[in-house]
Symmetry: C2
Subunit: 345 residues, 2 copies
């Protein structure tokens, strides 16, 4: 248990000054070859590593970015994390992760914790509760402190900052269009309550697709779920005795619940009803039937967000020149949305 080596200790050991050691290790031309080599050899031998905290204090840069997410046990956010992490590491940054668990209070606390100097900037996907309350003072706070903020996926339009979103509405429209092209005429949607920004947008896309194809919008075929915990029962009740030939769900959980509900009623997917889902995760890939989905490219979104944030931290981009990057979704068509069974691989 040796305490960590510092410049001061090296200096004392080698009988030079701290500044000399520092310069030698950074290959300053001020230092003679002799002493430089001596110092570098010593440092290497005892595995000297500069103390990051001291550097952060000195430079007033932590080379750390904060990532605040509503949840993590969710493939989408997990992929966002890995995207952020990858480019952050590539550019020499650490990632400090906090979870809000969709709670407004925790989100505020997390932001305050991270804003007290631990972090050079934020990537945030706002909590559901925050979107409901529409209270964004904590975001304005950190921005007014000069901390760069990039919002991902669940963004709030009123806040001026860089954003990374997907074309939720178009993605949904394409998915529903695909269902229509595959023969569906009575398509139900299972979505979230409107204050969840992405849920609202996806609902819009659904409506647009119907209108584009002169299909009637039936309010009875629209289910907006508030409480994730009881979604299975709610969906089962909703599906019950509905005359439908297609279902569009805004996430994998809703989609699998729908398939299950249909299955329990003796209705087969995809033979009787086609299903399209949002959020391409492991669940969709492994489900039987495998689910057709709108891929959100979470890793790409996370990567883009990290790029934007670090660019701004390093002032590589002009002030006030905020951009909203739109990551394109793509349709992944699998078994659940196609009547004919695919031939076995």
């Amino acid at each position: 248990m040796k305490p960590k080596l510092t410049l001061k200790q090296i200096a004392r050991e080698l009988d030079v000054s701290v500044s000399t050691v520092s310069k030698a290790l950074r290959d300053s031309p001020e230092i003679s070859d002799d002493t430089r080599q001596k110092i570098q050899a010593f440092a290497k031998l005892y595995n000297y590593k500069p103390n990051n905290i001291a550097l952060s204090l000195k430079n007033r840069k932590t080379r750390t970015i904060g990532l605040v997410l509503p949840e993590i046990v969710h493939d989408f956010f997990a992929t966002v994390i890995s995207g952020v992490e990858e480019v952050a590491n590539k550019r020499g940054y650490n990632v400090l992760i906090c979870l809000s668990n969709n709670s407004f209070d925790r989100e505020v606390i997390n932001m305050e914790m991270l804003a007290n100097g631990s972090t050079d900037g934020f990537i945030l996907s706002v909590a559901k509760e925050t979107q409901q309350k529409e209270d964004y003072h904590h975001l304005e706070e950190v921005i007014s402190q000069g901390m760069p903020l990039v919002m991902v996926d669940r963004v709030v339009n009123d806040i001026i900052c860089d954003k990374v979103i997907i074309d939720d509405s178009d993605g949904a429209r394409n998915a529903v269009q695909q269902l229509i092209d595959n023969g569906c005429r009575k398509i139900a949607i299972i979505t979230t309550v409107d204050y969840v920004s992405v849920g609202k947008l996806r609902t819009e896309g659904y409506l647009r697709a119907l209108r584009n194809n002169d299909l009637e919008v039936d309010q009875d075929l629209i289910l907006k779920i508030e409480d994730m915990d009881n979604s299975q029962e709610e969906i089962a009740g909703f599906i019950q005795d509905k005359e439908i030939d297609g279902v569009f769900a805004v996430n994998e959980q809703f989609a699998t619940s729908a398939v299950k509900a249909l299955f329990d009623q003796g209705i087969s997917v995809p033979n009787d009803v086609l299903v399209f889902s949002f959020s391409d995760g492991e669940l969709s890939r492994r489900f039987i039937p495998s689910l057709s989905t709108v891929n959100q490219h979470g890793a790409e979104m996370g990567a883009k967000a990290a790029e934007l944030l670090i660019d701004r931290i390093e002032k590589a981009v002009a002030d006030e020149n905020f951009q909203t990057a739109v990551v394109k979704t793509s349709l992944v068509e699998r078994e659940s949305s196609q009547k004919r069974k695919k031939s076995l691989v």
Copy 2:
């Protein structure tokens, strides 16, 4: 864009010294009520928050713990994170997350990054590649520097430190016993190569269950998968024309692949073959048929690991008094392991 408020600025503004401000804010009795109130009011008004980095440097404590995981898009590790995060926050710590992507090199780099002062201690689940190489010098390194290390789930026995594991072998034995109790006699296992510690232990549990029941061990019924990416094909080939009535899989991915392979051969789960899996995640819950699993209680493991680590950081526990906490698994029996269909809810 106001730069963050510091003690020095408050001091200048109120025409007192920095030390007075510091003491006033910490309610030191040295300071008179008058000035204390004045300073506190000012600080509150302008929302002063002490700079965390400066505190870290001063106290040589960062109140941050590092969490190094092999992957994240995986329900188990995601739940571990949320467990760690929860108790860390509760005890006033931040969590710095790094992903090794199962790469030895990245693991080493991550540990070095986090060990240079950013962190008071580590929680680690070692990368697959590290277990294969059996090179643990980076772990010994951080330990010898006096940094507490807690290993989770994928632990290495040679390293002396606190550990949090589950009863992998017993969990597997119980699951296989359940299959046997439910009538299975020819049970296949789909597991990982042996150098993955948990895979090996689960395989042991499987073997023990068979022996306990005087069932013959058939090497043809044991599949050890090296390459996750091609596991689906490998499993399909393995299942092909095997005479089995039960499958035990060491993770959800293998389990769903097995069900799929059986399904493609016209074999029904659970009517013809029963399936039991390890790692209780969303996939298991939502799959049709829902999968019976051995619940690993990831959140609990993460929480326990964080408790152990923080206790050690805060010296609440005697030196050298390392413990290995075993979190009990529990069987979650769902549809896939029971012949009779459950009555509909």
